[in-house]
Amino acid sequence: MTTRYTVDHEYIRLDGAEAVVGITPYAQEQLGDIVYVELPSVGQAVKKGDEAAVVESVKAASEIYAPASGTVVAVNDRLSGEPGLINLDPEAGGWIFKLRLDDASELEALMDADAYAAHTA
């Protein structure tokens, strides 16, 4: 399982043919309590860098950009009722959407865990 990170604090984790996208623990901490998540639609095609979702805290709204191009194959519906899952566990229960990637090699341009740790240091 490979996890990669963007400079905008999204993570993307390859899981077989699909990739799970969410925001990093660092990002959720910066945003504070998440109160609302605007999810993409299943079947929606996104290009790398497109705005795919929005997470809102009380005082801020942040766009979530697609870390890679692909098709949305699943969204985390639980976030509609429990947006706080992103705060509790951003990398597991707080995932946002899943992509079927057009080209898995796009991930190579993103940061690995060490590089991301240095980015947020």
């Binding site: 609302y36 605007e38 809102e56 805290s57 009380v58 005082k59 801020a60 709204a61």
Partner: protein, 447 residues
């Protein structure tokens, strides 16, 4: 200068502490050739009594509605405002407070807004309402934009019974837009809006009572627009009618917008007024304007805050639902106090009284030779045809001291079929003597 606390000596002292050579030094970033060395060419300051005399002189040049028989409505209505309302809204803590961004010291305004939102929701039969918008016309334009966001469709149909100024405001907000279809004005209360719906239609906008006073069938409209997946926007310019008429929400409305002026607010020559907006709970993310919500404080006590503000311009900037910053707080306060004073029993009595006065007016007008009443249905407003250009007749009646309604041509110029129409309203303030005076004078003018 009675509003400026400093003496010249204090100014000099303060400047010395700041360390500037003179007062102009504080304006050093202003291009020096543009700095005005003399006060602008305007009258100098005046004592309170002089200002008052000047303003009274201007005021005296207007014919106030209370000076004689008065029958003008068309989107703004003259109702009695209880003395308590005007006293309360002038309290310092209401009048001179800012937007309640610091909830710990703004619970008065916040709780009032929460109560206001609930009243508006109950009155319109909707699930939620916002904390108010500028007025009914801008609220209508905002509702149209909201319907486009919700449906991701573009076509908007405006009923021919919509107030022409409201139609014009929607046009201005949407700019040149082929998907905005304004149906021709329909003084007899019919329209073919429901035959024009298709699966590209985002919303239809229907006013009831309409601009000419007719009551419109909201249920039929809701069924038709919902069948094609669009939304019904209902506009109410006379909220007192809701005391007697079925709630738009109970008939299938998706967004209800209204002009709230009738409750608590004077005519004020057109403003400030208060726009109401209510909708379904599932649509709140796309609703513009401020919202107040209930929560608790650090000790668990109930309290209120402005909430869901991420929809608004100060956070979303170019992605905001609207550029609106403000609501119409003090007018909303006047509205909510008046409605609390009325209560359900009082509002129903007020609405019945309006309908009864309007019935008396309609009967009197219909009895005048040469006058045709166009309404089979109405609440407190109606349209008559007088068989000759209406504007000069209304002018002539004004010279007799009677403000006899609005010639339709004033709002619909260049439409010959409305040239001989007058729109008139009655309220609880319309007396039998007023109606008799109008009838006699109109009959004479039409001889």
């Amino acid at each position: 200068m009675r509003y400026l606390p400093h003496s010249d000596a204090e100014r000099a002292d303060m400047l010395a502490l700041i360390g500037g050579p003179d007062a102009d030094a504080l304006f050093s970033a202003v291009p020096s050739d543009l700095l005005l060395r003399q006060p602008p060419a305007l009258p100098a300051h005046s004592p309170e009594f002089s200002v008052e005399a000047r303003m009274r002189a201007l005021s005296a040049r207007n014919h106030a509605a209370g000076d004689g028989p008065f029958f003008i409505g068309a989107g703004a209505y003259r109702h009695h405002v209880p003395a308590t309302v005007d006293h309360l809204i002038q309290r310092s803590e209401w009048l001179t407070a800012y937007t309640p961004y610091q909830p710990e010291i703004s619970q008065g305004t916040l709780q009032m807004l929460f109560e206001f939102q609930t009243q508006v929701a109950n009155l319109t039969g909707m699930e939620v309402a916002n904390a108010s918008l500028y007025d009914g016309s801008t609220a209508t334009a905002e509702a149209v934009l909201m319907a486009r966001r919700l449906t991701r469709r573009n076509r908007i149909l405006l009923s021919g019974g919509l107030h022409p100024h409201y139609r014009d405001v929607v046009r201005t907000y949407l700019g040149d837009d082929d998907d905005l279809i304004c149906l021709p004005a329909s003084p007899v209360g019919q329209g073919d809006i429901l035959s024009r719906l298709d699966d590209k239609t985002a919303a239809i906008v229907i006013q009831t009572p309409d601009f000419f006073g007719h009551l419109r069938d909201l249920k039929a409209a809701a069924d038709a627009i919902h069948a094609v997946g669009g939304l019904l926007i209902v506009v109410v310019t006379e909220v007192v009618s809701l005391g007697l008429l079925e709630a738009p929400g109970a008939l299938g409305a998706d967004i209800v917008v209204a002009e709230g002026q009738s409750l608590g607010n004077a005519l004020n020559f057109g403003g400030p007024y208060v726009g109401l907006m209510a909708t379904r709970k599932s649509f709140i993310r796309q609703m513009p304007g401020r919202l107040c919500g209930e929560t608790v404080d650090a000790e668990g006590q109930r309290g209120f805050v402005l909430t869901l503000s991420t929809r608004e311009q100060h956070i979303r900037r170019e992605k905001a639902t609207s550029n609106i910053c403000t609501n119409s707080g003090l007018c909303a306060l006047a509205f909510t106090i008046h409605l609390s004073l009325l209560g359900e029993a009082g509002l129903v009595r007020l609405a019945r009284l309006n309908h009864a006065r309007a019935g008396a007016l309609a009967d009197a007008l219909a009895a005048i030779p040469g006058v045709t009443l166009l309404n089979r249905t109405f609440f407190n407003e109606m349209t008559i045809r007088i068989g000759r250009p209406a504007a000069p007749v209304v002018e002539a009646l004004a010279r007799r001291g009677i403000l006899a309604g609005v010639p339709a041509s004033r709002l619909l110029p260049g439409e010959p079929e409305v040239d001989d129409l007058i729109i008139l309203a009655a309220t609880e303030l319309t007396s039998s003597e007023d109606i008799a005076a109008l009838s006699a004078a109109l009959a004479e003018e039409l001889k």
